[in-house]
Symmetry: C2
Subunit: 435 residues, 2 copies
Amino acid sequence: MIRLDASDAGFDRAFADLVNARREADADVARDVATIIASVRDQGDAALAAFTSKFDRHELDQSGWRIEKSDLVAALGGLSDELRGALTLARDRIRAYHEKQRPADSDAIDDAGVRLGARWRGVDAAGMYVPGGRAAYPSSVLMNAVPAKVAGVERLVMVTPTPDGKVNALVLAAAELAGVDEVWRIGGAQAIAALAFGTDRIAPVDMICGPGNAWVAEAKRQLYGVVGIDMVAGPSEIVVVADGANDPAWIAADLLSQSEHDPTSQSILLTSDAGFADAVTAEVDAQIGTLATRDVARAAWDANGAIIVVPTLEEAMPLVNRLAPEHLELAVADPEPLFDLVRHAGSVFLGRNTPEAVGDYVAGPNHVLPTGRRARFASGLSVLDFMKRTSFLSLSDEGLAAIGPAAVALADAEGLPAHARSVAMRLSTQSGSQS
Amino acid sequence: MIRLDASDAGFDRAFADLVNARREADADVARDVATIIASVRDQGDAALAAFTSKFDRHELDQSGWRIEKSDLVAALGGLSDELRGALTLARDRIRAYHEKQRPADSDAIDDAGVRLGARWRGVDAAGMYVPGGRAAYPSSVLMNAVPAKVAGVERLVMVTPTPDGKVNALVLAAAELAGVDEVWRIGGAQAIAALAFGTDRIAPVDMICGPGNAWVAEAKRQLYGVVGIDMVAGPSEIVVVADGANDPAWIAADLLSQSEHDPTSQSILLTSDAGFADAVTAEVDAQIGTLATRDVARAAWDANGAIIVVPTLEEAMPLVNRLAPEHLELAVADPEPLFDLVRHAGSVFLGRNTPEAVGDYVAGPNHVLPTGRRARFASGLSVLDFMKRTSFLSLSDEGLAAIGPAAVALADAEGLPAHARSVAMRLSTQSGSQS
């Protein structure tokens, strides 16, 4: 953890280092991923079996390539009533929020007599990556699958590694609740390549969503364009803006709720109260040892934690915008004036009573959010990511007469005579029929 | 040009080859681009000056790095009244269409007492690539710049190569009409890298749009994630679905209006009338020699043109969806039944009277559209590409009590105790204050 004071000499330099610190994939990962992608493209299922044997330590021909619908149903049935209820509440609230994102089609005739419109359609097939191991979260299954189904995706294909052949019952239960159509026991960059190109067993998809490690993220980046992808995702991060009237224990827990995700996660507190900064530091140290996730949380907090003391919270907001954080808590009594100063953030949690973790699970907005300063240009996952828009137009004789001559003039000016001719021929026939 | 008949043996194989034919960048381009990007990242303006000297044959320190506002104003003033009028009509119609794309913010309290919403904001700064040479189109300046300005982008930066130091007055006039804020005389992959990373002279941007050659497209693909990009764009393409009642000369002109863009452009006719296919073939051959663009059009038509005879036009539509074309004309008297069968297309032109070229210039919808089968998952350029959405939420005591326990249960199940604690602490204080 580093502590900075905005009034210190050298602050600008230290803050710029914090903003620009890279916690993402390096060139070695890119090379490895390119090799894996080429293998799957060229050798298909044989490459999948070999990589799965190597990385996940089981043989697909023995353990089975797919997880069947009956296994999903059994996993959901095996949950405690409390957990099934919590997952169902989460699913229903996520669905309700995302249903409002469904875009409207348009179709209208304008003043010039030109009919213009747009039709939205879901992609035919979407792939969803679900990590194995530490980051196997049923909440992420819901956050990715529910928007796909709201978008109208007919074939939603889940891929997930099953290390040593072991499946994760919680993840399977969430897949059943969310309406996943196919599940394959493959992971890593090889699973992303299989979804993008297809293999003999696995039909290709049109877009791929879902979180993953650096290899998965790099595979999505390299295959962007062959398929659509949700986003390039990096380590998770939170920025908390808090005054001294907060309970330091609450704020410490909020910071640790990011740090416990992964050693590369980042938690940053911005406060106007140096004494509160001391109290939160002490609380983090006190709480961290009690967590079952203490090793990860300690590594992340030590390496990537930061506490920054600012003269006023208003003056914190330009720093927040430079960080463009994935998650932003505004833990003050009246957050609205600060919120109005936010230009870049994935999701904002308003007031002392709104811990970021409720957004991870049950609030309704998506928890798949832009990381690594990408909130400058990117948004959280939405129904729109699983849809595409087809524009259309139709010209009446009147519409062609109104706008056709300008098209001919511009095509001539651009040196594109066939463009001009395709319009001019129709215009001349029209004037002929009027004579 | 190849001619296929859907009733021939071997059609499926031949059509699959057509769908999968690659007309895009190869590994050599990717390597060259990676080298250029690294140079600009490490050496900034010095690399820009060196690449410009090498590829564009002028010295930026002598010719000037920027094109000034006064030059844009002069270029616009120097156009003929007809051309300025045509560009202005196009600008106004594009703006009117795109203003309807501006998304609405949301902010509401749901039944559980949870306040949920989303705010849309334009990116701070956008970069726009404008090619030099053959593909320097003022219409593309309008199609990229107008949506950015409608989105509220405050700093719109145009980069364009000026080979041998020569500027393109039409492009500068369009930039002035569209409200471009800065223009730099740089091009190629080096210009994309400069926009993404920034240099001493050029401040970085948040997203990059605009068409370019294979090097520019590959640079955008490699830098996706560092900045936002509009899309990965490949060669342009058109599919025309036409019955035998069309004028073959019109349809030939429509096919040639794609072929004349670039030797890699693709034009495909699907018709149910073999005699009409013969007539269009003859018309293409008759018209092509009369075009000033004949060399390009001939090369593209010979290499990538196709005419496919199908039993009925309804049976053409599954083939259209496999091609997922950038542009689709439905040249029949009643296009609606066919249009209802379209699943994947960038833009659709309905009826005999609607040549694709009107959409390139003045209709209003964007002419920047997904190519290379990407209409399966991608949409044309829109105002949304220049904006991002920040979701937000706020919990009342009632809201926390309603959904907090489910969040605690899910966090525990996922093995994330700090997540659970950050919610549970607030829940326990709440029940304390109620006792």
